[in-house]
Amino acid sequence: MDSKRSLSFEQPIHELQQRIDLLQENEPDSADRTEEIRNLKRQLATVTEQVFKNLSAWQTVEVARHEKRPHTADYLRLVCDEFVELHGDRNFGDDQAIRSGFAKIEQYKVMMIGHQKGRTYKERSACYFGCAHPEGYRKAMAKMQLAAKYQIPVVTLIDTPGAYPGIGAEERGQAWVIAENMYEMSRLRTPIICVVIGEGGSGGALGLGVGDRIAMLEHSYYSVISPEGCAGILWKSHEFKETAAEALRFTSANLKRLGVIDDIIEEPLGGAHQDHQQTSLSLKEYLVRVLRDLVPRSMDEIIASRYEKFRRMGVFLEDPASVNPPEQGSA
């Protein structure tokens, strides 16, 4: 691991790795060397596990935003056996913050749709760091409707800090397109699988987030607001981002407990950025398993249970003594 690119809490892991690398490169082969390397590797595994099993909420955000973390473009390459990209929203443009197209995953034909963050500075600014404009959400919906026409299941990969906050975005109806996407996804007549692969930033995530199965990669987060935004409003300073991150309870384990997501996809030891191949393999296995389950079902059943899934969300109290006025002339 490149030390410049490691997070502060990854330091002990990084140091052990460096020691192993030094031994392997510089010491002549010997029984002692082999033994020491074996010891260090054992330590490395223990330390990595300790760090990554006990990530704080804020550390999870740092992992989810890690610049080496696999993005949609990586999964399109590593998960899909074939990918035929489809561009444009037929209305305004081709938002680079959303990638979409036909793909094959083993025996399944799917429509892949995902937020794209980019890796080089040029790529990142072309897609506004993964923040889609209204044309991005319209592009996603256009491709989903195409998929539904031919009963092709939809897979969405969610990875965005949020929908883009800008003048053009408001002029072209950012609020409207996010609402419309949830509205149409709730009744889209093809199976939909949603996976949060990094950042699940608020409405911008939810615009691709209504489906039959919702999963998160282990160290991703999914939140009503960014920890910085929440800290700015409720703590009056971004410096409280770590406190806000904890308070929002947005890690995969929390969301599973709250019944908001169905599944957590485990990441390799040390996080997805340590091993793109292994993460992609886990994601692929998950998608195949869910497709195998969903594809044979009738569309009416799928739509009904998708509705029920979101219908159940929320936590409130209800006084059983209080009753509503009776219903009238029901249809």
Binding site: I167, G173, E180, E184, V224
Partner: protein, 270 residues
């Protein structure tokens, strides 16, 4: 529902944010809380909305029994969410930011919902989402036209975290089902309608009406300014701006709101 106190400070006079004139409060109240000088539409409470839009004495409240709780045990700099809820309930007389039920508009029975921007900025948490969803579902079963008047600067309520975000999906899915049943949904946007409320039920009307000069949008103006570092154009994110860009069907003054809703219901044959 009891109201002990209003969500705005009491006083005989108030300064109008529209024209900066000092207005005799009673005079504005007589005119549906509209500035007599410049037609600026002041805040009105959920109760006041019900009085202004529904025929007198026809409102029956639904799902009053739902009360918010604190599922995340959320605590911000100042207080626990549970304490904040109590304080807001005392201050506004509301149990949460949405009031729902049925009533008559010029003798037409409708399902009616309103969010009150005085209760934690009119934000949507589990109770607001659940009340609206039940309202929409019942409107579908009883074949009633649906009117929702939104006032929410807060969008999805942070204190309930992801559960608030999911209310956006829940309510939108209910509206899609209602649409499938042929229901008529008239959404009325008032000052302010932002964030997760704008990006869910508020923008999903078959007809979208807006009060004049209301602030309506997805991202808050300050967030946008901090992102793009340029001054925002005059009139940005107002009702008029959204009408110009094609997202609002009509801008309707408060005096005309009730009769226009009745007229639109008649056009759609409900």
């Amino acid at each position: 529902m009891k109201r002990q106190k209003r969500g705005v400070p009491e006083g005989l006079w108030q300064r109008c944010p529209g024209c900066q004139n000092v207005i005799f409060r009673k005079e504005a109240e007589r005119r549906l809380n509209i500035c007599p000088e410049c037609e600026h539409h002041f805040y009105v409470s959920a109760q006041e909305r019900i009085r202004q839009v529904l025929d007198e004495g026809t409102f029956e409240e639904w799902d009053q029994a739902l009360v918010p709780t604190d599922p995340l045990e959320f605590k911000d700099r100042k207080k626990r969410y549970s304490e904040r809820l109590q304080a807001e309930q005392l201050r506004t007389g509301l149990s949460d930011a949405a009031v729902t039920g049925a009533g008559m508009i010029r003798a037409r029975r409708v399902a009616f919902g309103v969010t009150d921007s005085a209760f934690i900025m009119g934000s949507m948490g589990s109770v607001v989402g659940e009340r609206l969803t039940r309202l929409i579902e019942r409107a579908g079963r009883e074949q009633l036209p649906l009117i929702i008047i939104s006032g929410s600067g807060g969008g999805a309520r942070m204190h309930e975290g992801i559960l608030s975000l999911m209310q956006m999906a829940k309510v939108s899915a209910a509206l899609a089902q209602y649409d499938q049943l042929g229901g008529l949904f008239i959404s009325v946007l008032t000052n302010p309608t932002m964030g997760g409320v704008a990006a869910s039920f508020a923008s999903l009307g078959d007809l979208v009406l807006a009060e004049p000069k209301a602030l309506i949008g997805f991202a808050g103006p300050r967030t946008i300014k901090n992102t793009i570092h340029i001054e925002l154009p005059k009139g940005f994110q107002t009702s008029e701006f959204l009408l110009e860009h094609g997202f609002v069907d009509r801008i309707v003054t408060r005096q005309r709101l009730k009769s226009e809703i009745a007229q639109l219901i008649d056009y759609c044959g409900k």
